[in-house]
């Protein structure tokens, strides 16, 4: 601890003690707002999340301890397996589409010497839109009749899809919206990382006769390895919490094809009034996500970017 950092070698005279007490009082005076906010809105809810999942909350009397009942209710629900499957599938699909694409875009953008400001602005534009706006906009695009996507398919003489209304395309449709509105973040972060790669490395690789793809493989990727890993973990944690897309686009349907864990948790609490069941789902999701978060913290602690 650092309380003695100011006067490491001095003895603690009464004056020094008084100063120390005063400094601590001032410090906690400055900290009290944050301590109150964190206590109420972060720390206590973290503890309460665990309690909640073992309790039955009915808002009339005090909560009742029910052991593992909530977990039993939730796991016996037919939507439970679907929710985990969909969440995993959503995350994987979002990774397939949404993870490599920003990196490739960033590599290309980094080579361009014109229209840079425009391209950077445009790629980040969807990120700035409120997600609800982007999702509702895409809901209109997915309209099976006059919606934009089927019109484009018609232009190419392809049969239209039923997008959100079919079990086979609904989840993919959600991934497309989600990717569209989040792509810019990764692209700009990678771009910043790419700009920090020293030119000498590319020059040396080129002198050694490395072609374009070899340079990407042997210079670009090793130089951005850490940020690639960090973004991978961040994206997994972010996409596993997917809620707004199923909430606004499909309501979990058709036939539970787009129910996600977060959405099921919301349904348990606010449609079925079962906060214990919602809490149990939340706790399971928390455990899974904490694994990724813990790896992320480990990785980002190696401060070697």
């Amino acid at each position: 601890m650092t309380t003695t950092a100011v006067a490491p070698s001095r003895h603690r005279t009464p004056g020094a003690v008084r100063r120390l007490v005063r400094r601590n009082l001032t410090a906690y005076g400055f900290l009290c707002g944050a301590l109150i906010c964190f206590a109420f809105f972060s720390w206590y809810p973290m503890v309460r999340e665990i309690l909640l999942s073992f309790q039955k909350t009915n808002f009339v009397g005090p909560p009742e301890w029910v052991g593992l009942d909530n977990f039993r209710t939730v796991t016996e629900d037919s939507a439970f397996a679907a929710a985990w499957y969909n969440t995993a599938a959503f995350t994987l699909l979002a990774l397939v589409i949404g993870y490599a694409v920003p990196f490739v875009l960033a590599i290309v953008l980094n080579e361009l010497r014109h229209a840079k400001a425009y391209l950077r602005f445009v790629v980040y534009l969807p990120v700035m839109l409120p997600p609800a706006v982007a999702v509702l906009l895409f809901k209109w695009f997915y309209d099976p009749g006059p919606g934009l996507f089927n019109q484009i398919l018609a232009l190419a003489h392809l049969p239209g899809l039923s997008w959100l209304d079919s079990t086979s395309t609904a989840l993919v449709s959600l991934v497309i919206v989600s990717t569209w509105m989040n792509l810019g973040t990764g692209t700009l972060i990678y771009l910043a990382a790419l700009q920090s790669i020293p030119s000498e490395l590319y020059e040396a690789a080129e002198l050694d006769g490395a072609g374009l793809f070899k340079r990407v493989w042997h210079v670009t990727i090793p130089q951005t390895k850490l940020i690639l890993l960090v973004m991978l973990l961040l994206q997994i944690v972010a996409t596993m919490q997917v809620f707004i897309e199923p909430y606004l686009l499909t309501g979990g349907g058709p036939e539970n094809a787009t129910v996600t864990v977060a959405y099921l948790m919301y349904q348990y609490a606010f449609s079925f009034g079962n906060f214990g069941g919602g809490g149990a789902l939340g706790l399971m999701l928390m455990i899974v996500l904490m694994v990724f978060s813990a790896i992320y913290l480990r990785v980002s602690r190696d401060d070697k970017i």
Binding site: L52, P131, S199, E206
Partner: protein, 333 residues
């Protein structure tokens, strides 16, 4: 905020602004100076492709083909949907249902914007959103700046534990504590207050942001101690030092935190959906989506345009700070 200090994330270090005072060794325990090589402005930047390759005829042809493809592709993917949103709003319901669709509205009808404004009560929603964002911004700054300053410069007993507790919240994804946080806001422990349908339900949780504390504390850590000690010798108290010395040199990071906090509130959906169920109290994105089902398509599109305009304008004006904030967080500096 001067643009030169915001040009890159490297601008976010006050020790570069205050070069005459050498930072004493050991003052920044966990944060060694970044070793990211910075290219001199005079030197030509190169990436994967060397300038020599680019200057050949073949290189030029390939470069311009790629450039045109990328510009066209980005425009199609990221701008065209927005164009479609704006023009869909201007079409009549009949024209919207038409197959194939028209690229330009045949008879643009701007009255739809007024209609959307009235029917969806967008004025109220926008006013609410502004109130939530402004309040969240004020509370975030007031609470997080003082806390980060106390943790960084006053270093109280148990300060490290408090900081660890705050940073630990970064590991908890917001979605998993959604229900307990909602129950807490509904019936605040000890106090028994119900904050549902009040702005406090947005403002106070917004201030409990470990990431902002982390950004601010790291910035304050890099302010040379001599600066503060000189003020202390002149008799300035901690509050005075924070106000007259720390805040002025911290303008870049405060700008980043300000914009991030406003954007966070503006974009948030799930939390206001839960804690502001009253139609009169909703922010714009919750309000529009709650009414979206019963709106004609063109009115809904007009509402979406109105809802996205503030975000686009803010982005246009504060582009640099927003992008600096983005990289400040994820590249760790």
């Amino acid at each position: 905020m001067s643009s030169s200090t915001m040009r890159s994330s490297g601008g976010l270090r006050p020790d570069r602004l205050a070069r005459p005072v050498p930072p004493p060794a050991g003052d920044r325990p966990s944060r060694p100076p970044r070793r990211r090589p910075r290219r001199e402005p005079a030197r030509q930047f190169r990436g994967l492709v060397s300038p020599q390759t680019l200057s050949t005829t073949r290189g030029k042809i390939i470069y311009w083909t790629v450039l045109v493809t990328v510009v066209a592709g980005f425009t199609a993917v990221f701008v065209f949907p927005l164009y479609w949103m704006v023009t869909s709003a201007l079409k009549s319901p009949d024209e919207l249902a038409q197959i194939p669709p028209t690229l330009l509205p045949s008879a643009p009808d701007f009255s739809v914007y007024a209609e959307a404004w009235d029917q969806l009560d967008l004025g109220t929603f926008l006013r609410n959103t502004v109130i939530y964002a402004a309040g969240a911004w004020l509370f975030t700054l007031a609470i997080d700046v003082t806390a980060a300053y106390a943790l960084s410069k006053l270093r109280p007993v148990l300060g490290k534990l408090v900081l660890a507790g705050m940073l630990a919240t970064l590991m908890i994804p917001p979605m998993v504590i959604l229900l307990p946080a909602y129950l807490t806001v509904k019936d605040l422990p000890i106090l028994g207050w119900n904050l549902i349908n009040t702005p406090w339900a947005i403002w106070l949780p917004a201030a409990a942001n470990g990431f902002f504390i982390f950004l601010l504390k790291r910035f304050f850590d890099s302010i040379p101690r001599e600066l503060l000690e000189a003020a202390e010798i002149d008799g300035a108290g901690p509050a005075r030092i924070l106000w007259s010395i720390v805040l002025p040199v911290s303008r870049p990071i405060i700008g980043v935190v300000s914009i991030l906090s406003v954007v966070n509130v503006w974009k948030d959906f799930v939390w206001p959906l839960l804690v502001l169920p009253d139609g009169e109290k909703m922010p714009i994105s919750v309000g529009i989506s709650s009414l979206s089902a019963q709106m004609p398509q063109n009115v809904l599109m007009a509402a979406l345009v109105i809802a996205s305009l503030p975000a686009i304008i803010v982005f246009f004006v504060f582009q640099r700070s927003i992008m600096a904030g983005l990289t400040a967080g994820s590249l760790k500096g």
